[in-house]
């Protein structure tokens, strides 16, 4: 599925705030990962990291391109932070090489790498003022004093920190500390900024603000940002591409829209918004379509390029907005399943219908309340038919 379809506004009606499309309009034509001639700015090549017996990162190969806002997403312990720390130079990969702008940096110490990291704990220097914290990296380069002052002022201006210049970190609120940490990180104008759960310590409202601030800084500086987060909404909001990790493995790398529309596993499918998953066995694979014998004797057919074998246990994922709900039995005999309305959530423009199907599965369908007075109102305990087109579902093998 291409990006344009992923941006289909229909796809986001379920929760416009959470799964909203990239707000940044300039990004719409931005897809350097599709250009095979463009060298990546960061390349992980077969990276494995073992801690004794535990494999934290397992054979990860990944390209990240200039000016991307790249998110590493996954539950805690999935290896995303370890991957980031290997790029920063705090951990040595057990196996594999890391390249930045074509140069092998695997053996360089942290202080010789063209990356700067923002830490989850902010890691501000408690004995230095805001000003001196931000200027720390520039002083290490031996930059002349007036030049340092200029750059520090620029960074403070960008993050509205000028009024706190003379304060120590313990005299700042959490949100202010977070901004100082970011300012310190970008003051050196690195090619790549690494963010390790940068907003984890902020409350929800502040976090949303900070997300937009991150995006603004990333766009104005034109720097490549790599963020590590366990918060799916955060990744969807800020990132141009997301890499989902699970148990040290890279499960899927795709745009937020693609992750939403074409999840590879049940785990990813459940990330954002609601998803209905029908379990079944593959009965036939032919000309780009997979047919599935689902529980209860129903037959589903869906377009898919997934490689499966007949008899394999798979899941069919369907977003609620892709399922039609009606009182009349559809003419088609595939992708049709009867059920009874158990619950209705009326949300003004749309309604959620929770339907118990004959095999006993609970399915959520969405319907836009288009007409002023719905002629055929569906109500509780109604027997209904659910159906969907062959291109609506996604076959999940993982």
């Amino acid at each position: 599925m291409d990006v344009a379809t992923a941006r289909d506004p229909k796809a986001n009606t379920s929760s416009p705030q959470r799964a909203g499309p990239r707000t940044a309009a300039p990004q719409s034509g931005f897809a350097p990962w599709k250009n095979p001639d463009l060298p990546p700015i960061v390349r992980f090549e077969g990276i494995t990291k073992r801690f004794d017996e535990f494999v934290a990162v397992n054979n990860v190969t990944l390209n990240i391109y200039e000016k991307e806002f790249f998110a590493l997403l996954g539950p805690s312990g999935c290896g995303k932070s370890t991957l980031l720390r290997m790029l920063a130079g705090f951990e040595r990969p057990t196996d594999g090489r890391i390249f930045v702008a074509g140069e092998d940096i695997t053996d360089l110490p942290p202080y010789e790498r063209p990356v700067n990291m923002m830490f989850q704990s902010y890691a501000l220097f408690p004995h230095m003022t805001v000003e001196r914290n931000i200027g720390f990296g520039l002083r290490q380069e031996g930059m002349p004093k007036d030049k340092i002052a200029e750059r520090v002022d620029e960074a403070m201006g960008m993050l509205e920190l000028r009024q706190f210049a003379k304060r120590k970190p313990n005299q700042l609120s959490g949100g202010q500390q977070q901004r100082v940490a970011l300012a310190r990180c970008i003051a050196k104008k690195p090619r790549i900024v690494l963010l390790d759960e940068p907003l984890g310590a902020l409350d929800k409202k502040l976090r949303q603000q900070a997300q937009f601030e991150l995006m603004r800084i990333q766009e104005t500086t034109g720097t490549t940002f790599i963020i590590v987060t366990h918060d799916q909404e955060e990744a969807m909001t800020v990132a141009s591409r997301i890499a989902v990790m699970e148990k040290g493995l890279l499960v899927q790398v795709a745009t937020p829209g693609d992750i939403y529309e074409n999840p590879k596993t049940r785990y990813i499918a459940g990330f954002i918004g609601d998803v209905n998953v029908f379990e079944g066995k593959v009965s036939k694979v032919s000309d780009g379509c997979i047919e599935i014998d689902a529980n209860g004797g129903y037959k589903f057919k869906t377009k898919s390029t997934e490689t499966v074998t007949v008899g394999q246990q798979v899941g069919l994922a369907l977003r609620p907005e892709k399922i039609r709900i009606g009182l009349e039995k559809p003419t088609s005999d595939v992708n049709v399943i009867p059920g009874k309305v158990e619950d209705i959530g009326y949300l003004g423009s749309i309604s959620h219908y929770h339907v118990r199907t004959a095999p006993g599965e609970r399915v959520t369908a969405l319907r836009a309340n288009a007409a002023h007075t719905v002629e055929q109102a569906i109500t509780w305990e109604d027997s209904v038919w659910l159906d969907w087109p062959v291109d609506a579902g996604v076959v999940l093998t993982g």
Binding site: G89, N170, S173
Partner: protein, 274 residues
């Protein structure tokens, strides 16, 4: 319990403090005694402090003690800080448990054993005993105290602060001097003060490891007392008590003011920012 007065508590405190401080108080009072006899009170006088200044042997001993204490405390603080950093920072390495055990073992080692073993090694190596052997011995036993003090501070030190410094381009050495050391400085000062005090009043280990010409003040006092306590000894002891008390109070005041200042700054900032 809070705020309630009881005779039992009052008596406990009184007895406890009496037990601790009456001997010291007596010593201080008798240092101002007019009489040459230590046990007979003959009115107030400061003449023993005056005669102290004339006593070249005591002055020499004090000078030796001071030099030993300053040099050994400084060296012990450096070594102890390095050991503490290794223990806390280096994570797991083969023999870490043994290493940390060996650093802290001298804490519970009887002074006599430490002194004797050091004497044996100096003799075996054919090192002439004197000023420098005392210093070596004092470094050996006070280093582990310094390591304990610094280690306590390092343990609640956010490691990512050091990583941030390196990430921003500071070399490991630069990181240590620009970030780590300033942050742990108060504990390094405490470690130095502790090592200094330990060296100042050590008698046993110094006696084992000394040689001709190097007599520390505790050794001098002890040898003089064996010939009979003179009021001069009381006077010099009073001065020692004064130095130690001043040092301890100063350190406590300094630490307290630091925390209060930080607290005030915080409150001022949030009062203003809302």
């Amino acid at each position: 319990m809070k705020g309630r007065f009881s005779w039992f508590n009052a008596m406990s405190i009184l007895l406890g403090f009496a037990f601790l401080y009456i001997p010291i108080l007596l010593l201080v009072i008798f240092s101002f005694n007019e009489s040459k006899l230590v046990t007979v009170w003959a009115g107030w006088s400061t003449k023993w402090y005056g005669s102290l200044l004339q006593n070249q042997a005591l002055k020499d001993a004090a000078w030796v003690t001071l030099r030993v204490a300053v040099v050994s405390a400084s060296a012990a603080t450096v070594l102890g800080t390095l050991a503490a950093i290794t223990l806390v920072r280096m994570g797991r390495f083969p023999g870490r448990t043994l290493f940390s055990g060996m650093i802290f073992a001298p804490l519970v080692m009887p002074d006599v054993i430490t002194g004797l073993s050091l004497l044996l090694i100096f003799v075996a190596l054919g090192i002439d005993r004197g000023f420098w052997t005392i210093i070596l011995a004092h470094i050996t036993f006070s280093m582990c105290y310094a390591a304990v003090v610094v280690q306590a501070r390092l343990q609640d030190f956010d490691k990512s602060v050091e990583e941030a410094a390196m990430d921003l381009g500071a070399t490991p050495v630069g990181t240590f001097f620009q970030v780590t050391l300033p942050i742990i400085a108060p504990s390094v000062v405490s470690a130095w003060l502790l090592a200094f005090t330990l060296s100042l009043d050590d008698l046993v280990i110094a006696s084992f490891t000394t040689g001709p010409g190097a007599t520390t003040l505790p050794m001098k006092i002890y040898s003089q007392v064996r010939l009979g306590v003179t009021p001069e000894i009381n006077a010099i002891s009073t001065i020692l008590i004064g130095i130690v008390t001043t040092g301890v109070l100063a350190a406590a005041y300094f630490t307290k003011r630091q925390t209060e200042k930080a607290e005030r700054e915080r409150r001022a900032a949030f009062g203003a920012a809302g």
